[in-house]
Amino acid sequence: MESKFSVDYKDCVAKIALCGRLDAVNAPVLQDELKKLMGSSVKDMVFYAKDLEYISSAGLRVIIFAKQKVGVDAKVYLVGAQEAVLSVVKMSGLDNFMFIQETYDE
């Protein structure tokens, strides 16, 4: 599966669709996309991870970056994550600060 990301911002909700792999090679691409949101008011930050097959610490750091620099007051959601991704997220303790759920209802 091709790795690609899209960021959509509307009405204080940032939706980030993740597809393929989020690793050291392509995490900077996502980070650059998220940087464009800096200065916007973000209430909810929603990472759609149904099609994400793999995440490494470089990918986790982008999520931490997004929370720290883009949406300090935002709620962060991880939606539909596969087991392989979820286990790395949990191992890193990021699950304590994200709402992990199957769907996101606006």
């Binding site: 690793d23 050291a24 090679v25 793999y54 490494s56 610490s57 470089a58 986790l60 750091r61 931490i64 970056f65 929370k67 720290q68 300090v72 962060v76 392989a84 790395v88 191992m91 890193s92 303790g93 990021l94 304590n96 600060f97 994200m98």
Partner: protein, 134 residues
Amino acid sequence: MKKLELAAKLENLESMLTFIRKEAEGLGFDSKKLNQIQLAAEEVLVNVINYAYPDKDGNIEITLIPKDTRGLEVEVVDWGFAFDPLSMPDPDICANLEKRKIGGLGIYLVRKLMDEVNYQRQGECNILTFIKYK
């Protein structure tokens, strides 16, 4: 025993990971453990790529040593800056996300996912090895 030596550059990461993954596949690791090996390998290799050679170009040498049919040892050697990643304290994974330090997470995952992780400095080399059993 198989060896691969390439320039420590991000553009070579995929070739290195494929080299390791193919060997692990051949040894019959299940897909979950294959992913864990790949993740650990990425973390170790990216550390070297990002930090071992701050002011010069250098190489990474990967040696794959099957442990009979029980597991795989991966040895990663560089000739850069002396650095023991295992000397770093574990990140505080309970820290609030707002305050979470961005660093140390990669090697923490390697320790959690692999059965053995060792570092030694030999002469001019950093040698990091990790082992995963089936």
